[in-house]
């Protein structure tokens, strides 16, 4: 800025000098003819006209070459013009000055303001150079840049003085100007390139005085200083890069299959072991084995946390999410945690999500592969997005509308275009939320115990929706009874707990419920598997909501149904899940840390196979063996994830008889149906016979 002011001052001085000289000259012209005033004046006028003619002709062509025609001749008085124009290019300033004297007042109206703007932008690249750290420029560039305009104005000034006679020099200067322009263009381009290179190579901190354009051509350019290293390694961009690229590389390193394997080579490793295993356990046992394939544990995040939720991604079968409770020994870490593990990335989670409170339930949205919903101990419902950072993209308010008790179950029901998040807290409040807006529940339902019970309070421990009906669901209560509920008022019943029907059988809190996925030849969607702390797993057949309303109208007494099948286990049973593929297969995890896989079509008394997750190096004590959650991979039904108190997610693969695509035959579906019908009829038959007696 200072240099600019100086320049302006210098120009002003020069203009004043020019003006004085011109005045002197005109005085000389006038002074020799004082006597014959009239004629002389005439002569003088002619002369002036001549002069003006002479002056304006080159003037109009001259500036035309420099890109601003005619306008120059209409410059107002010199004082104003210098004041105005000194802000602009020196060339236009002198032009204006040259024509200033003969110009009449009327022409002053013709303002050249819009034209002057054309010139205004021209110095801007030069200005950039000014503001830019001088150290970057080499001295040579710097010199030419600043000298150019100066040289320009000088030649212009000389031009002006010799203007009346010397048009050739004018042309010369124009050519010169063009050349200058060209050089300036080149320089500008060069500088821009340099700037770009400098900006892209140095992120923060001071620019390097010795930086050169050619640095990229010869490696190793130079070692970065500690400061620069610091700046680079703490920049967000660099962190993103490390995050991204290290994930890719770890996946590459974790890839087990060696694509360069040469099977023609005498095989002595790898393949043999597998073969041995196959041949040794050939027969029925191998076909129903449950084999551990991976275990996920992160030293930083999984430590001292318990797994409270597990779910496979419906879109990417290799992704499994795990919800965690808080780590009591790390008060500064977020209480709630959800990690998404990748089957192809063993040592670290693909994504880590945080929550301010223990996560008790978490689930991938079946309608959007990026979204994860979770319920927390604080009563909040969270929504995470795998495209966003670890904090939830949306959460329900801690106070006010919504839950004020822990949310142990969440689900997303509906269709692709119309789905809701449903959450249920232990005070009997059920909320429906839209995925876009978690500030306020879209619907709120208070679940209460039906009349026979002493209190109205109902404490739901779990909730399950049938696969086909988003308006009907079951809740399992702390007392062990399972109640059917409606989200909306129906013909025969009000929204909330269905007063007339209940499923009694469990003597302790119900820990999980799972509707049969029913994707086969026969509809088995009314089968529900429940687990409880009373050491049993029970199979129920749920009456369709429409049917219950008709039976309700027939008998005002509340009907109580008992389970179809009862599987008594050796420990508390925390979770059970149907296989998504095989109609009779389900898996169970219990407090002893055992994973069991059952097949109803084969045996209803004992599990087909059992397994236990391998213990980690730092040891699972007896107390931490218990397994809380189990989840099937949805598309193939071959993999099974379990997790429990020790915070490790273990993935098992089941044999071809227990899972895998198109392994389910049609007769299996009918045999399950038949089995249920048989057991049910036997049960009702016995009841009838008892009644008959």
């Amino acid at each position: 800025m200072q240099t600019r002011k100086d320049e302006i001052l210098a120009k002003k001085a020069k203009l004043a000098e020019l003006k004085r000289q011109r005045e002197l000259r005109t005085r000389e012209l006038i002074s020799p003819s004082p006597a014959r005033a009239e004629q002389d004046r005439q002569k003088l006028d002619d002369l002036i006209k001549n002069l003006v003619g002479e002056g304006s002709r080159p003037g109009s062509t001259g500036p035309g070459g420099a890109g601003s025609p005619a306008g120059k001749s209409s410059r107002p008085t010199s004082v104003v013009s210098t004041g105005e124009l000194s802000n602009e290019n020196s060339e236009s300033a002198t032009q204006g000055n040259r024509n200033s004297q003969p110009v009449s007042i009327s022409t002053q109206i013709l303002s050249t303001a819009p034209l002057s703007t054309v010139y205004e932008f021209q110095p801007s690249p030069v200005k950039e150079v000014f503001s830019y750290s001088k150290g970057v420029q080499t001295t040579e560039d710097w010199g030419t840049q600043t000298l150019k305009p100066r040289a320009f104005s000088d030649s212009e000034g000389e031009d002006d003085e010799a203007q009346l006679s010397a048009t050739p020099s004018k042309r010369l200067s124009r050519r010169e100007r063009e050349r200058e322009e060209e050089i300036r263009q080149n320089l500008r381009k060069e500088i821009e390139e340099e700037l770009k290179a400098a900006q892209s190579s140095v992120i923060d901190g001071p620019l390097l005085p010795s930086f050169q354009n050619t640095a990229t051509d010869n490696f190793p350019a130079r070692a970065l200083t500690a400061e620069e290293l610091n700046a680079v390694t703490s920049s967000e961009e660099f962190m993103d890069f490390v995050e991204r690229s290290s994930k890719v590389i770890e996946r590459a390193l974790d890839q087990e299959y060696d694509i360069l394997a040469d099977y023609a080579l005498s095989g002595e490793n790898g393949m043999d072991n597998e073969d041995d295993e196959y041949s040794n356990t050939r027969g029925s046992k191998w076909r129903t084995r449950v084999k551990e394939v991976a275990q996920f544990y992160d030293e930083r995040w999984s430590k001292k946390r318990m797994i409270s939720a597990l779910d496979f991604s419906p879109k990417f079968p290799e992704l499994v999410l795990a919800g965690y409770t808080k780590n009591p020994s790390a008060p500064h870490d977020p209480d709630g945690l959800v990690q998404v593990w990748n089957m192809h990335l063993h040592d670290r989670p693909e994504f880590v999500f945080h929550a301010p409170s223990d996560v008790l339930a978490a689930k991938f949205s079946p309608f959007h592969p990026n979204l994860i919903v979770g319920g927390a101990y604080s009563g909040q419902v969270f929504l995470w997005d795998t495209r966003a950072k670890s904090a939830p993209v949306q959460k329900t308010p801690l106070t006010g509308a919504g839950h004020s008790h822990p949310v142990y179950s969440v689900d997303i029901v509906g269709t692709q275009n119309a789905n809701n998040i449903i959450s249920c807290s232990t005070d009997g409040v059920l909320c429906g939320w839209t995925v876009d807006m978690l500030a306020q529940p879209q619907e709120l339902l208070n679940l209460t115990s039906p009349p026979p019970s002493k209190t109205e309070d109902l404490c739901p421990t779990c909730m399950a929706f049938p696969k086909t009906d988003p308006t009907f669901f079951l809740v399992g209560s702390e007392e062990g009874t399972i109640f059917p509920c409606h989200r909306y008022d129906r013909a025969g019943s009000k929204a909330g707990v269905d007063q007339r029907v209940s499923y009694r059988g469990h003597a302790a809190p119900v820990m999980s419920m799972d509707f049969h996925p029913a994707r086969g030849a026969v509809d088995l969607g009314d089968l529900v598997l429940t687990t409880s702390l009373d050491w049993t797993v029970k199979l129920w057949r749920v009456r369709a909501p429409a049917a219950t309303s008709t039976t309700g109208s027939l008998s005002t007494e509340s009907a109580s149904f008992s389970p179809v099948l009862d599987f008594t286990r050796e420990d508390v049973v925390y979770n059970a899940a149907w296989s998504p593929i095989k109609p009779g297969v389900f898996s169970v995890v219990d407090g002893a840390g055992t994973v069991e896989v059952w097949d109803l079509t084969v045996d209803t008394e004992v599990p087909i196979s059992k397994a236990q997750p391998s213990s980690r190096k730092d040891g699972r004590s007896m107390m931490s063996k218990s397994l809380n959650r189990i989840a099937w991979e949805q598309t193939e039904g071959k993999r099974l994830a379990v997790g429990g108190l020790d915070g490790a997610v273990t993935v098992f693969e089941v044999g071809p008889d227990l899972g895998g695509k198109d392994s389910a035959k049609n007769e299996e579906w009918t045999s399950v149906k038949k089995l249920v019908a048989k057991v049910e009829s036997a049960a009702t038959g016995s009841v009838n016979s008892v009644n008959g007696l």
Partner: protein
């Protein structure tokens, strides 16, 4: 929120530490792709180019285990890794040229270079290049 997000320096060095602690990993190098400077390096890898150079400086071949220091370049093996970085950098640049010749709108995502002894996994990015050298186990 600041406490939720770990210190970038720490998480960076933790990432590198985890990478270099994986079985078979010999060396990891992070290179600035415009300048070609080494930002971080760990492990030990001796290039044949460095061996010839090391004949002059005998102290170059003192092996040292991988360091988790995020900033410091190892004093002993840094020259080796600098060599490696230079070679990889040249390789990436020429591959970039190849790709831009094939399709100017395309760009490299990953380079896996298998040799008889090693595999180089190179993840080039806009501004940085991450290189991991690991030994092929088994065959």
């Amino acid at each position: 929120m600041s406490q939720l997000v770990p210190d970038p320096q720490n998480s960076f060095s933790a990432t590198i530490a985890r990478l270099s602690s994986k079985t078979g990993v010999v060396a990891t190098v992070v290179i600035d792709s415009t300048l070609g400077s080494v930002i971080q390096s760990s492990g030990h890898y001796t290039t044949s180019r460095a061996v010839t150079a090391a004949k002059n400086t005998a102290s170059a071949n003192t092996a040292r285990p991988a360091t988790e220091n995020g900033l410091g370049q190892l004093s002993t093996s840094s020259s080796d890794l600098d060599e490696l970085a230079a070679i990889v950098w040249k390789y990436v640049k020429s591959t970039e040229a190849l790709i831009s010749d094939l399709d100017s709108e395309d760009e490299i995502k990953l380079l896996r270079l298998r040799t008889r002894k090693n595999e180089l996994v190179i993840a080039p990015d806009q501004k940085y290049i991450l290189v991991v050298v690991h030994e092929i186990s088994g065959s």
